[in-house]
């Protein structure tokens, strides 16, 4: 089985899992007392947000290893991870307002957490733009690694601003120092969703990685290059 096919299969399994998550979330998980059905989006929003940040950290780590090992596979992985991260950031930025409108009464607010996700999205876009603007593959990989490492180091600063700036955003419910403060049935649904998103990330990255292999085999033609 080729890498593309493997990626496709993982993605299909992930999408089936995600559909199952929503069957469970809608039919077998209690409705939150204050937020009502709007809270259901949490099972999509939070795992996507976690993977948006994780993907950036993986881009940075791949960058560090690339600078020492000069292995093009690491660069291909970083490129794939950045593109998938962009998609996940888009999911977070779309599901957030859909939840925000009924609960906060506004689609968008300049709250720290929203701003930081938007920044992460811009960071990804900037990273991909730099990749697109360099023709030489070795230089491109090196520049991307430098930018990826800086981006990874920016993530904690973006996070610090969350706790310094006053925020409307719900405080962390699961990933916090004390025990998760939600019923176990919701936690199980959420963990299931996180697993589905992890698979989705792996599936997307595998497909994207396979695509850059094909591209490099055909002389590295890139869109937008004359």
């Amino acid at each position: 089985m080729s890498l593309t096919q493997k990626g496709r299969w993982i993605t299909v399994v992930a999408l089936v899992c995600l559909a199952a998550v929503y069957v469970r979330a809608l039919a077998f998980t209690p409705v939150e007392r204050l937020q009502g059905p709007a809270q259901k989006i949490f099972y999509l929003h939070v795992p996507a947000a976690i993977w948006t940040e994780t993907a950036m950290i993986l881009v940075g780590l791949a960058g560090i290893f690339y600078l020492f090992l000069k292995d093009p596979r690491l660069d291909r992985f970083a490129e794939a991870s950045a593109e998938v991260g962009t998609v996940f950031a888009t999911i977070v930025l779309t599901t957030g307002p859909i939840w925000g409108k009924p609960i906060w009464g506004t689609w968008w607010t300049w709250d720290a957490r929203l701003t930081s996700t938007l920044l992460l999205f811009f960071l990804y876009v900037g990273y991909l733009l730099v990749r697109g603007a360099v023709r030489d593959p070795v230089l491109r990989a090196r520049y991307a690694a430098v930018l990826g490492i800086c981006g990874m180091c920016l993530v904690p600063f973006i996070h610090m601003s969350v706790f310094l700036f006053r925020t409307l955003h719900p405080q962390p419910i699961i990933l916090k120092p004390s025990a998760p403060s939600l019923p176990s049935s919701m936690l199980v649904t959420w963990l299931f969703s996180l697993a589905a998103f992890t698979l989705l990330y792996v599936g997307f990255v595998t497909q994207r990685y396979a695509l850059s292999l094909v591209r490099d085999a055909h002389g590295g033609a890139r869109p937008g290059h004359v």
């Binding site: 230089l139 930018l147 800086c150």
Partner: protein, 226 residues
């Protein structure tokens, strides 16, 4: 360490002598700062918005734009006659080359800010006399952060297409954490709040400076080598 600083100073002095003899870039940056401040005056309704509420924003947006303008030219002037190649074959360590560029950029931006701050006070009638020392401290902390990242990125984009545009796009997300800190501290200072209220943001600014100056010193070598 002594030699590193001596080499860095040689590079910085070269840039600064060039800058102060031609003066075009410096004068343009100062005029640009004055123009941005002027434009801000017309970008608000003076009867509806008290200046003091808008003052930190005006100051920091102006300084951010001025810094980005300055950073664009840092490596641009090395492109002519392959001056960058000359620097790279000279017996300079990459770290001292970065530090030299960093020092030259810091002096350049500091001169622009030294003109910009009194103009800001004059145009918007903001009393800063009683908080001048802490205000200059915050400006110095934030500027170091801006310029440290900006110097690295201006070296990174110099060989790409659309270098000027790309620099702004990748740099701005990185400027937001120090910008948030600087604006918050400035607002508290101008509002007559004690400095102790700003400790969290000052720590954020200091941490940002330490992380990104060291990171950029290390990563710079990967951006200039062919």
């Amino acid at each position: 360490m002594g030699e590193l600083l001596a080499q860095a100073w040689t590079v910085a002095r070269k840039d600064l002598v060039l800058e102060f003899r031609t003066r075009t870039a410096l004068v343009s940056a100062i005029v640009f700062t004055a123009l941005v401040l002027t434009v801000f005056n017309f970008g608000r309704d003076p009867t509806a918005v008290p200046t003091i509420d808008l003052a930190p924003t005006i100051l920091w947006v102006t300084f951010t734009f001025a810094a980005m303008l300055a950073l664009n030219r840092a490596f641009q002037l090395e492109l002519e006659n392959q001056a960058l190649e000359g620097l790279l074959v000279s017996p300079l360590s990459r770290t001292s080359l970065y530090w030299g560029k960093l020092i030259a950029n810091l002096v350049f931006v500091a001169v622009v800010e030294a003109v910009g701050l009194p103009l800001f006070v004059l145009f918007f009638d903001v009393p800063v006399g009683h908080v001048l020392v802490p205000l200059i401290g915050v400006i110095a902390l934030a500027t170091l952060g801006f310029v440290a990242v900006g110097t690295l990125f201006s070296a990174l984009v110099i060989r790409t297409r659309f270098a000027e545009l790309l620099l702004v796009v990748i740099l701005l997300p990185f400027l937001v954490p120090p910008l948030i800190g600087a604006v918050q501290v400035t607002a508290r200072l101008l509002g007559g709040r004690p400095l102790s209220e700003s400790v969290g943001y000052l720590k954020l600014l200091a941490a940002y400076d330490i992380v990104f100056v060291s990171l950029a010193s290390f990563l710079f070598r990967f951006t200039v080598d062919e």
